[in-house]
Symmetry: C2
Subunit: 405 residues, 2 copies
């Protein structure tokens, strides 16, 4: 094992290259997790894995310790049995949750060390407990922090209220204006590069067994909501979004404080789809801020993270092997879906290593990933190990797996 330092969290590398003449899979995972905040809502401590029913609860249980361990256990079992028919290189990064800032430079710098025929990402989800799925696209992301300032310091709302443009109010107005009544994002040029779904794709997506009831239950909402003209499934994977991730201004403790706050801050992230370019979207955001921020207010936008969306060929040899492996472990053919989340690796691997990424993982939509009481459905840990073992075997038989030397 090798540890590669970066300016942020280090990248961990290991390999097994004893399948001479066979192709090579680069296995990707990440060891970092989301913050645990709000801690008070956890039923058991986030860093003490706790079994309840068929689930294991812990921060990272689903994103992505269980998937990561399953793939390592699959390798261990195959190697011990002398039955691993492919070479493997394993890369675990520590910055997936903050935009994989140093993964690109690492892939670039270590191109020849990381040479491979396919990337397998274990950071992936399935549709339902007993129904495997394969993602053929991931959304990108642009994560910004917006700060607005009115007065130079907090003021007394009685002495100054009425004469000052309140920055918390201005921030609310700016955010309110970012969507129209149809749930569309109003930032200039936001939809200009969005890939249009083909009729065939829309029909296929509609075939995914999806229950609006179950979605509502997993989210704990009274009803769904989103961009007009699209189904919930389309909105979740094929359409871009703009979400407020956090708001902070003024006095937020118990009781009252009659303050007119000096500042207000919002964390705002956009999920992007092919072929939106994060830097063009960011320009549109800045243009919106310039046009709409009133003159008494100063503002600043901090770029926190970005990654492009990506698409994978549904008919490639990797997808064929993955589909068969899942079918055999679950006894059900996987459905093809568009992933709502972001995996910077997918576009990076294409750009830096020139290979395709196959995503096989077992996180469920109601695992409360990134939220309190994150959990993982344990039976799929064992099915997961089986899936990966079969995938290594099946991929080694694909005629176009091994690229010409």
């Amino acid at each position: 094992m090798e540890v590669f330092p970066t300016a942020g969290h280090p990248i961990v590398y290991g390999d097994w290259l004893e399948a001479s003449g066979a192709g090579t899979i680069l296995i990707y995972g990440h060891y970092d997790v989301q913050p645990v905040d709000p801690l008070a809502q956890w039923t058991s401590p986030p860093f003490e894995p706790t079994l309840r029913g068929e689930y294991i609860f812990a921060r990272g249980a689903s994103d992505m310790k269980s998937n990561g361990l399953a793939v390592l256990k699959a390798l261990e079992a195959s190697i011990k049995n002398g039955s691993l028919p492919v070479n493997v290189k394993v890369v675990f990064e520590g910055e997936e949750e903050i935009g994989s800032t140093h993964l690109g430079p690492f892939l670039e710098t270590n191109k020849s060390k990381l040479k491979c025929d396919l990337v397998l990402s274990a950071d992936a989800t399935i549709a339902k407990r007993d129904l495997p799925s394969l993602a053929y696209g991931v959304r990108g992301i642009l994560y910004l922090e917006v700060s607005v300032q009115g007065p130079s310091h907090d003021l007394h709302s009685g002495e100054f209220g009425g004469g000052i443009h309140n920055p918390a109010q201005v921030l609310c107005e700016l955010i309110a204006g970012m969507h129209n009544a149809d749930g569309q994002v109003t930032l200039p040029g936001f939809y200009d590069q969005v890939r249009i779904l083909s009729d065939e794709e829309r029909r296929e997506l509609a075939r995914i067994p999806y229950s609006e009831d179950e979605f509502r239950q997993a989210a704990g909402v009274k009803q769904t909501f989103g961009e007009k003209g699209y189904s919930t499934l389309e909105r979740l994977g094929a359409r871009p979004t703009l979400e407020v991730n956090g708001l902070l201004s003024g006095f937020t403790g118990e009781g009252t404080k009659t303050v007119l706050p000096a500042k207000a801050m919002a964390k705002i992230s956009m999920r992007l789809v092919p072929y939106q370019d994060p830097s063009i979207i960011e320009q549109g955001f800045m243009e919106y801020m310039r046009k709409n921020t009133p003159p008494a207010i100063t503002w600043e936008v901090k770029h926190l993270a970005s990654a492009s969306a990506a698409l994978i060929d549904r008919k490639s040899f990797g997808m064929r092997a993955a589909s068969e492996a899942l079918d055999s472990a679950f006894g059900a053919k996987p459905v093809f879906r568009l992933e709502g989340g972001t995996l910077p690796l997918v576009s990076l691997a294409k750009m830096k290593l020139g290979v395709e990424v196959i995503m096989i993982g077992f996180t469920l939509p109601d695992d409360d990933v990134h939220a309190p009481n994150e959990r993982f459905y344990l039976p799929n840990y064992y099915r997961g190990i089986e899936t990966y073992i079969r995938f290594f075997d099946l991929i080694s038989r694909q005629p176009d797996f091994k690229s010409p030397a």
Copy 2:
């Protein structure tokens, strides 16, 4: 001295009743202060009074320890000299900053003990360092906490973003809709009971030496802002406002967390003017929430505090005595103004004790009351003592001061 417990902070009482045959003044003050938050912005610790130049810096220095001490020192000096010509009862409460919840019941219960001919509040401001002023009105307040909830728990913005009505976005939309483009509050019925300024009053208010530059400097803003059709001075005292005092939702720490928050909270307070009734305004607020909150969102409004606005007769004997006392201590005739802040006592004293309140205090508009680095201009501490001593003397000579026994 007596201490009267309440369900909240106790009320402190003391008296000196040896001016037999003379009238009685009830002196009002409060010993509580605002929270110090945000602590990091204080130059010196908030509870270690620090001298810098002609100012003393501390939480409460201006609101209202210096005013309170000045009036007590004036009493001490007069009593020691044998020259206090009026009877005094002193009441200091501990809940002024949180709406004086228990002051009304205290005044009601102890009506006969608190019997007096006039109330003097030392919790007051002047226009400029060398220009005294007298407030003939104070604004009321209605302070609410609004909570909205979408999902039952925080969600992953990649997995769920696009299918959920984001409560932080909804809260922003609700707040944005509370003002129109002319800076007017849109809550149903908000302006229905607002007292219209007479032309004479508007002319008088316009005579207050007011510098837009100095106001901007004290607030630290590039430009002022407010309700269309009114001067800044009118907006600050004679017109009601709605301010966001605080905002909180989702992830607000360093960096990124791709959370779709379950909840969002805003502290919202309204400064009210005669003759707005806080409970009617609150009904309008609830009606607005009912009408405008989208169906996927649940909401709750917590009533945190309220107080009515009040007006004082500018030609009363108390105002005459106060005006002369300030003139003699400052060498300048006071200007009459409408106070932007709230003093629940003013309406309470009228209702419970049947007497008028005169407000004499020396807090300056740029003292950063309720904010970090609160300060008090020390030369006015000494002028303040002199003003109060003269006020006691002058009021005792007013023929209509002592009410018939």
